[in-house]
């Protein structure tokens, strides 16, 4: 009997801990890469509950022409851009050997966000000296020697519809690229009511640039972004370290471009392979509906258990509450990102938790009907049922693991949320169905010993 009281103490402590963790104001834990602990204030919610954007980017290069490090650099680059947009909840992950998954929960300007992270953002300053009609080449797509080099390094051919120099058919020459910039920021010009980019060159590039502009006064110089000519202004005077780029940018475009320039061009061009765009209100409605459904479902189950199994049923109901609390605390601590499928997984795991209790109680009823005394019936109920509970839970855990691995495939990421909460629920169930239910039941049985021995129906028999 004493051991049941000991377990009760453990359970009460656990519950207190879980309630404390689950309270909205309380912190969860977030392990940083360097081993320190960050305290996270809220439960992580998935895109379908918070709204936002998810984009799967794929390298636009043949396999083998880039390394894993290149892909990681591209991911880091995207990460910088994402942070630059002020999206702190965002995640950027390398998937497989050619994909990057970007999740931007809660982002409000989706168009700008996706454009910012997708673009290669190769900025070039190109020599347009001696090119006839240079002023009319805005928005034209041209080939430069810089691009040519990059393409050759990957074993690719330049596209046929990129313009070359009309005089000798060669690619245009690049003077500087975005890599030579020390800083870039979007500014507003009150006179023209437009936005421009103020840039500052790195020290190493200043000399080259000064010399070039000094020798080309009166000639046009093109500013090219991702092969497209933004503008080709005439060089008015020798330029130094700081100058501006004009291109009739909107505020969004200017901010986006400045950010891309600051984080650098993507080492590998990327393209979208899949995307998800969820409105925030839709997400909020989903949360409300799911919570409502979950609460109602669980209440009905609790009521049923208490009515059908009476005293043991009450023990099971209490154990179920402990089960739920343990799960919620786990979601905050691990942390687990809650999505709609994840919530469904949790609800299904409740079904399994209840099943475990039912197995025990049905066995108990049988033993009682066979005339065994209460204590023995309880013992037999638990011992005999444990084998079934363990075997069936394990087989379900196996299947969930398969589901989890399936969920690692890029397009099926929703599935892993379901698998995680279900597995978590099953593992926690192995603890609660036996230890917690048993503790509550034995304690209730000993406290209510007199009435129980007289009124067998209280035991659900």
């Amino acid at each position: 009997m004493a051991r049941h009281y000991r377990w009760l103490a453990v359970i009460v402590l656990l519950v207190a801990f879980c309630v404390w963790v689950s309270l909205p104001g309380t912190t969860g834990l977030d392990w940083n890469n360097d081993g320190t602990l960050d305290l996270v204030v809220e439960q992580k919610l998935g895109l379908d509950l918070v709204g936002g954007v998810r984009v799967l980017l794929e390298a636009q290069l043949p396999p083998g022409s880039f390394t894993a490090e290149d892909l990681q650099r591209a991911a880091d680059n995207v990460n910088k851009r994402v942070n630059g947009l002020g999206l702190t909840e965002a995640t950027v992950q390398v998937q497989g050997d050619r994909r990057i998954l970007v999740e931007l929960p809660g982002v409000t300007d989706k168009k700008q966000a996706v454009n910012t992270i997708k673009a290669t953002a190769l900025l070039e300053f190109v020599d347009f000296a001696g090119i006839p009609g240079a002023g009319n080449l805005d928005d034209a797509r041209i080939l430069t020697d810089e691009q040519d080099q990059l393409l050759k390094a990957r074993g690719e051919q330049a596209s046929g519809d990129l313009l070359r120099r009309p005089d000798n058919g060669q690619p245009f020459s690049t003077i500087l690229t975005g890599a030579d910039l020390k800083s870039a920021s979007a500014q507003f010009d009150a006179q023209t009511s437009g936005f421009f980019i103020a840039v500052e060159l790195s020290d190493a590039a200043v000399a080259t640039f000064s010399q070039f502009t000094g020798a080309r006064i009166g000639q046009p110089m093109a500013i090219v972004l991702d092969s497209t000519v933004l503008s080709a202004p005439i060089i008015q005077s020798q330029l130094g370290a700081s100058f501006i780029i004009e291109g009739q940018f909107t505020q969004d475009e200017a901010n986006s471009l400045a950010l891309q320039l600051r984080s650098g061009a993507l080492p590998i061009p990327m393209r979208e392979e899949a995307a998800s765009d969820v409105g925030a209100t839709l997400g909020q409605e989903s949360v409300n509906l799911s919570i409502r459904a979950g609460v109602i479902g669980v209440l009905v189950v609790l009521t049923f258990m208490m009515l059908y199994y009476r005293v043991p049923g009450t023990a099971a109901a209490l154990a179920l509450i402990v089960f739920a609390l343990l799960n919620f605390a786990a979601y905050k601590l691990i942390p687990v990102t809650l999505t709609l499928p994840a919530i469904t997984g949790f609800l299904i795991s409740i079904g399994t938790a209840v099943d475990g209790n039912i197995l025990i109680f049905e066995r108990m009823k049988e033993e009682l009907r066979a005339g065994k005394p209460l204590g023995m019936a309880l013992d037999l109920g638990f011992n005999r049922a444990w084998g079934s509970i363990r075997d069936s839970n394990i087989s379900t855990i196996i299947i969930c693991s398969v589901l989890f691995f399936f969920g690692q495939t890029p397009g099926a990421s929703v599935v892993s949320g379901f698998a995680i909460t279900l597995i978590l629920g099953l593992l926690i169930n192995l603890f609660t169905a036996v230890i917690v239910t048993r503790t509550f039941l034995y304690l209730l049985a000993s406290w209510l010993q007199k009435p129980l021995s007289e009124k067998k129906w209280l035991l659900g028999a």
Binding site: V55, L56, E58, K111, V114, N115, K118, E272, E273, A274, A275, S276, D277, G279, A280, T281, L282, E285, S286, L289, S290, R292, A293, I296, G297, V300, F304, Y308, L340, P341, T344, L347, I348, G351, T352, V354, D355, I358, L359, E362, G387, S388, D391, S392, N393, I394, S395, T396, I398, I399, V402, L403, F405, F406, T409, P410, G411, A412, V415, A419
Partner: protein
């Protein structure tokens, strides 16, 4: 105690009635569309737009016009009628890039103001879709194999262990076929599409089916030494009746939860829950009316080729003698 197992021929016939229409639907579907079910964009690629407008008044033609620039005849446009009088449309088209999608949304705004915060857009390229399809296929295969293996090992101490494993597997296959058949039929008649979540339903049904069979087999395993003199058929029958309360109670509880989700939960998950529910009912049905009868039939040598298999292990039970 009513002898359920005796009527096993009827149960096998009922099972056939449950499975065959589904199989026919799947075959028909494969012949006409190349896949056994209606596949969602998760498997074939494409885009699905769940559009919400602030006011009513937009027509299908408006929507088609908005998409016309980028999309083609393959566009499916459907109006979702909901009780709260909101204007919601579901559009299914081909996979487009972000810029094109934004352009389409701008076009739509010309006709009627779009409630961006209540709108959801999913886009998947064909490549990713094909990958997910392959992964789904292998997932089901892997799960089936691993679980089968596990059951055989879990029951290795029982005489004729292989039979238990194979019977549980037969029940599992039965349930998976029922669920897939249902999805196929629903696809043909109501346009239900199979997405990644459906696969989750299939694997969950698989898990429940096995769970249910294990509980029953555990009871049989326990009863065999206890009722040594009884014929196998009687033991199995008794085991069924002893575990039936538990099966029904569990089903009922699962039903409560799913009913709550169906009635009070969001739209998106309704098909998933409906399929899951049918699958769970099938899981309970198959343990009692497929797996158990199979065990008995096997023991009695009623299965044409099977009496050799599984009988290689020595059986301490006296063999059934009909009529003696």
């Amino acid at each position: 105690m009513f002898n359920l197992v005796e009527k096993r021929r009827w149960f096998f016939i009922i099972s056939a009635f449950l499975i065959v229409p589904g199989l026919l639907a799947m075959v028909y579907s494969t012949i006409t569309t190349g896949a056994p079910f209606r596949l969602s964009i998760d498997f074939v690629g494409g885009s699905i737009y769940d559009l919400s407008f602030f006011e009513t008044g937009i027509t299908e033609n408006n929507i088609r016009e908005a998409f016309a620039e980028y999309d083609d005849r393959s566009l499916t446009v459907q109006r979702l009628t909901l009780d709260d009088g909101s204007e919601r449309w579901s559009v299914r088209g081909s996979f487009l890039e972000q810029e094109q999608t934004e352009q389409i949304l701008d076009n739509l705004n010309q006709f009627s103001l779009l409630d961006r915060e209540r709108t959801q857009i999913e886009r998947v390229s064909e490549t990713i879709g094909a990958e997910v399809g392959r992964a789904a296929f292998f997932a089901v295969l892997a799960a089936s194999f691993i679980v089968s293996f596990f059951i055989i090992i879990a029951f290795r101490t029982v005489p004729n262990a292989l039979r238990y494993g194979l019977s549980a597997i037969a029940a599992m296959v039965h349930d998976v076929l029922v669920v897939m058949g249902l999805a196929s039929i629903m696809g043909l008649f109501f346009g239900w599409e199979v997405d990644a979540l459906f696969l989750t339903a299939v694997l969950t049904v698989l898990a429940y089916s096995v769970q249910d069979s294990i509980v029953l087999f555990d009871r049989i395993r326990e009863n065999i030494p206890q009722y040594l003199g009884e014929p196998y058929e009687t033991i199995v029958n008794r085991s069924i009746w002893e575990t039936i309360h538990r099966s029904l109670a569990t089903q009922l509880n699962a039903f409560f939860i799913m009913a709550a989700i169906l009635l009070f939960g969001g739209e998106t998950i309704k098909q998933f829950i409906a399929i899951l529910f049918i699958g769970l009912v099938s899981g309970t049905y198959s343990s009692i009316f497929t797996a158990a009868p199979l065990l008995v039939a096997w023991e009695k040598g009623e299965l044409p080729f099977m009496s050799r298999i599984g009988g290689l292990l020595p059986s301490p039970l006296p063999l059934e003698n009909d009529g003696v």
